[in-house]
């Protein structure tokens, strides 16, 4: 609740409507965890554009790679969502038990998008199926 009020006040202190606008940043301005993640999992890709939105604890980072992948990171650089529209999701990102499960249950499908919160992983397949997996290995 307090965060909400502070956001309102902040959005006055800055230009009106500026609080929610995206701003372009260079790759080096991303949190180091995010940079490492990109170079580790997408070594051959270039960054089409890197953007930041929000301030302080509400900051999110978006990286669009030149192969069409869209990565979203939280304020610390931990990935929140990875969307690959063109069948090019790197499997290194996805926990083993999930890939095994999908290979078994949906052998023909491939993953378009994976996102996570504190408790679960959420996976969207190209045929429209949405799955969720809790974080403990099960």
């Amino acid at each position: 609740m307090l965060k909400w009020y502070l956001m309102i006040i902040l959005s006055f202190v800055m230009k009106t409507s500026a609080a929610d606008q995206e701003r372009r940043i260079s790759f080096d301005n991303l949190p180091s965890m995010a940079q490492t993640f990109v170079t580790d999992n997408f070594p051959s890709q270039k960054v089409a554009i890197a953007k930041a939105e929000g301030y302080l604890w509400n900051t999110t980072y978006t990286v669009m790679l030149t192969n069409g992948n869209k990565l979203t990171f939280d304020k610390d650089g931990k990935w929140q969502k990875i969307a690959c529209s063109y069948k090019n999701m790197p499997l290194s990102i996805i926990p083993q038990y999930i890939t095994t499960n999908i290979a078994k249950q949906h052998p023909e499908a491939h993953i378009r998008e994976i996102s996570r919160d504190e408790k679960n992983f959420y996976v969207k397949l190209n045929d429209g199926t949405m799955l969720s997996f809790s974080k403990q290995n099960n």
Binding site: S17, Q21, R23, R24, A48, K70
Partner: protein, 430 residues
């Protein structure tokens, strides 16, 4: 100024700016949210197109049916460096299908593809709806503000009136309170602590004051009573001295002077006794009788006594006027008023006694006005006239208070005027 008006004024002064600030903050927050929504949709649109471009897929039509439009232009690296930021701005956009130019919001992004080529992507969405929305919200907020203020103030005034009823009951009671007269107890049927305290304190104060008043009256009465005996004894002794002792002229002269002085003390004491008796309601019996003959008698009496002053006294009386009061008290009243007029008028002056519309007026020539606030107080006198006890008018006042009569003094056209309403009907004695 009454408390409620002051409160309403202060409340308005405080609320008008405060609520205005609130309304302004609210409006701008909402307006911002609306703008944010528009910008968010632009961001989504822009990402969608970017992904398509990067994946070499077919791009959406430049202008879809909802009047959103976009454009992609390849640009040089220098250009990309010169425009590092994502830009949002409002502009007029030409819509070919409608053949019209309309206000829109535009977002520009520069990105590069896998071959390092830079592109500038512009997406736009019409804003007239957004503007309409903002205008509607603005008018609603203004209307709400204009409605809210009077409601708040009205409510406060209403609640105040409701809550402070006991205070006004007490104030009303205070208006009706006259010291020395009997009164209803202080009204106290509230359960609010503060008012309870106030009422109880007022009641106690009144009771204390009443008691004090009572004790004082009694004291004077007792004192005068006690004085009577020693004064009588003193008078007798002086008589005896005059009659039995062999005194020379000089000594007799001195004792006569002492006797005269003693007489005035006795007279004073008697008057004080009379005064306390009247105040203690020891003349409760009233008869109905015609007061006119009494007035005429007194006038004639004083005409005789003060004939040497050659005063001109005129009476204007109805043939008959019946009053209901104690006849002794009536006599005291008339006596003192009329005697005062005769004593305090200079030689060859004029006096007038009239009885009209139930009001008795005794007026006489005067030089300067008397102090209306104090003349009815005991022992207040303008000049120490021979034969004046200083209690005459106090007696008059005591009688009028007995019957709740209206007693006034005015100085008009160089005349002192004393007026008393007479009790025609049975008056409430207290």
């Amino acid at each position: 100024m009454r408390l409620i008006y002051r409160m309403a004024l202060r409340l308005s002064l405080a609320l008008i700016p405060l609520i205005a600030i609130w309304a302004a903050v609210f409006y701008f927050t909402v307006a911002d949210q609306i703008n944010d929504e528009a910008d968010d949709s632009l961001e989504d649109y822009s990402e969608l197109i970017m992904i398509r471009v990067l994946g070499n897929r077919q791009l959406p039509p430049l202008n879809d049916g909802s009047n959103n439009s976009y454009s992609i232009t390849p640009v040089s690296a220098e250009y990309a460096n010169e425009h590092p930021d994502i830009e949002y701005y409002d502009a007029e956009v030409y819509i070919p299908e409608k053949r019209e130019t309309e206000p829109a919001r535009i977002m520009t992004t520069i990105f590069q593809d896998s071959e390092g080529r830079f592109y500038e992507l512009k997406v736009s969405t019409p804003t007239f709806e957004k503007d309409d929305l903002q205008k509607a919200i603005l008018s609603l907020i203004v209307a709400l503000y204009l409605l809210l203020l009077p409601i708040i103030i009205g409510l406060t005034v209403g609640i105040y009136n409701q809550s402070l009823k006991p205070l006004y009951a007490l104030l009303n009671w205070l208006d009706g309170y006259k010291p020395g007269k009997s009164h209803t107890p202080v009204p106290n049927d509230t359960d609010i602590k503060e008012f309870n305290k106030l009422n109880v304190a007022a009641q106690k104060a009144v009771e204390r004051s009443e008691q004090f008043h009572e004790r004082q009256k009694q004291f004077i009465g007792n004192a005068s009573h006690e004085l009577q005996t020693p004064l009588a004894v003193l008078g007798n002794r002086m008589e005896w001295m005059l009659n039995s002792m062999n005194l020379n002229e000089e000594q007799m002269g001195e004792i006569m002077k002492m006797k005269r002085t003693l007489s005035s003390i006795v007279r004073l004491n008697k008057t004080l006794l009379l005064l306390t008796k009247i105040e203690n309601n020891q003349f409760p019996d009233s008869n109905r009788f015609d007061i006119v003959p009494m007035i005429e008698e007194q006038k004639e009496l004083y005409d005789e006594i003060y004939a040497h002053k050659e005063l001109d006294c005129r009476v204007t009386l109805p043939t008959k006027f019946e009053v209901t009061m104690n006849d002794s008290l009536a006599s005291v009243l008339l006596d003192n008023l009329i005697k005062n007029a005769y004593i305090h008028t200079a030689d060859k002056g004029s006096i007038a006694i009239t009885l009209e519309n139930g009001t008795l007026k005794v007026s006489n020539d005067g030089v300067a006005p008397l102090d209306g606030e104090h003349i009815f107080d005991r022992f207040y006198r303008n000049s120490g006239k021979e034969g004046s006890t200083g209690l005459g008018l106090a007696l008059v006042k005591a009688v009028t208070e007995c019957y709740s009569l209206d007693l006034r003094y005015e100085f008009k056209e160089k005349r002192h005027v004393f007026s008393v309403t007479l009790p025609e009907n049975e008056t409430k004695e207290n």
